[in-house]
């Protein structure tokens, strides 16, 4: 017993080193599995607060770009509104049924206060958290297209798993042919992502638009992603399809977080049918 204690005492530095090193490795492994990173993320009070302050300065540099994006979106929405006016004018009476009213998606506006896009696994931090109804696993978009999916949430901040993350898989489809695939990133160019699992039957042309598919419960169908930049066929399969994003992932200002109210219902239904 005495020998063990004296051995421990002699090597106490090495044991401390080993203990901390194991702890660090555990943190690293936790951060790779999707939901478990509880302690080490930038959604906490201190780092969120600091990033918020830094962002207050940076914001001024992006104001012009942000204004342009907003006015573009305004024009688009105004056009959409006018189209509806005409349809509605043809109906004499509009009945709003408040009992059967059901909202499928809720959008929450948020501001990106930290944005990584050069690493292997990129995350963004936004300035809304559980106090504003943000949960893990909600879709994040802006007017130009998708940005990512929320991961860790604290009271006032949340981290977003960017689409520029090797762990991210997002359901996507071709706009004109409804063929589904999943969106990944190969960590080369932050403006280019890859579309996998598209069947060879799907006719693919350079310049085709890719949008989110309705299969996932995270994003609504038809959120724009990007256009096909190049593709290659190999052995009667698509070897790769590269997509250049509509979004400039290096400068993201304001985003909207989407909550799908039907998600729980769909998930429980799906679980029920797989269990049977």
């Amino acid at each position: 017993m005495q020998q063990i204690i004296s051995f421990l005492y002699k090597n106490k530095l090495f044991i401390l080193f080993l203990l901390l090193e194991v702890l660090a490795v555990i943190f690293t492994i936790q951060s790779h599995s999707f939901h478990k990173s509880k302690f080490v993320n930038s959604a906490n009070f201190v780092s969120g607060g600091i990033y918020n302050r830094i962002n207050n300065f940076k914001e001024f540099l992006l104001l012009k770009k942000e204004n342009e994006r907003l006015s573009e979106e305004n024009v688009y929405l105004k056009n959409l509104m006018n189209m509806q006016d005409k349809e509605m004018a043809e109906i004499d009476q509009i009945v709003i049924d408040t009992i059967n009213y059901s909202q499928k998606y809720r959008y929450t506006g948020a501001k990106v206060i930290n944005n990584n896009y050069r690493n292997n696994n990129n995350y963004l931090t936004i300035n809304k958290g559980s106090n504003s109804g943000i949960e893990p696993d909600l879709g994040v978009i802006n007017s130009k297209g998708i940005v990512g999916i929320t991961k860790s949430v604290s009271a006032n901040y949340a981290t977003v798993l960017s689409i520029l993350n090797v762990n991210s898989r997002i359901n996507a489809k071709l706009l004109n042919s409804d063929h589904y695939g999943s969106l990944t990133w190969d960590n080369n160019d932050y403006n280019v992502v890859q579309l996998l699992d598209i069947p060879i039957q799907a006719a693919v042309y350079v310049g085709d638009t890719i949008v989110t598919g309705g299969k996932s419960t995270i994003f609504p169908e038809g959120i724009p992603i990007g256009v096909i930049k190049e593709f290659k066929t190999l052995n009667n399969n698509y070897e790769y399809i590269n997509i250049s994003l509509f979004n400039d992932m290096s400068s993201i200002g304001y985003v909207e977080v989407i909550k799908n109210f039907d998600k729980l219902e769909i998930k429980t239904l799906e679980e029920k049918s797989t269990n049977e």
Partner: protein, 168 residues
């Protein structure tokens, strides 16, 4: 709290802020961001069996990880070079026995000091990128990133050393 401790504390906080506010956003040549925060370990006084340094270096790395959402990668790497600091110094000087208390990094002749900085920086960066990719097939990318980022970090470290030395 003596003067040395206060200096270390200020350096600790200053380096974290410098790293997350400025250095993580440099993106030189597209992706090179120096990990200059390990300067703390070069500057920390050399003592025998120093458990404080191990704990501090772990915390330093962990703070960087928290801010850059990288799990525990930086913590592991920083802790590792804090642990191998004394053996590396021994082999660089070429003496088994180090005169603790008298030896500081500033008193080393330049080639030895440079070698010491290069070895520790390279090991640290290799662990960081190795753990980030964690695949043998990505070894070329890991090696290139380690090399380029190390050069950047070493240049920054050397410039800072001359500033600190002049002040003394």
């Amino acid at each position: 709290m003596n003067r040395e401790n206060i200096n270390s504390a200020l350096l600790f906080i200053g380096l974290i802020l410098l790293q997350i506010i400025v250095l993580n956003n440099i993106n030189f040549l597209g992706y090179i961001n120096p990990f200059f925060y390990i300067f703390f370990i070069f500057l920390y006084p050399i003592r025998k069996d120093d458990a404080t340094l191990l704990i501090l270096s772990f915390l330093l790395g962990l703070f960087i990880d928290i801010f850059s959402d990288s799990g525990g990668i930086n913590a592991a790497a920083t802790l590792f070079i804090a642990f191998i600091r004394i053996p590396v110094l021994q082999s660089v000087i070429g003496k088994r026995e180090i005169d603790y208390g008298a030896v500081t990094i500033f008193k080393l002749p330049f080639p030895k000091m440079f070698l010491y900085v290069v070895i520790l920086t390279f090991v640290h960066h290799f662990i960081v990128f190795g753990m980030e990719y964690f695949k043998w097939s990505k070894f070329d990318i890991i090696f290139i990133k380690t090399l380029l980022t190390s050069i950047f970090t070493i240049i920054l470290t050397m410039i800072s050393f001359t500033f600190v030395m002049r002040k003394r």
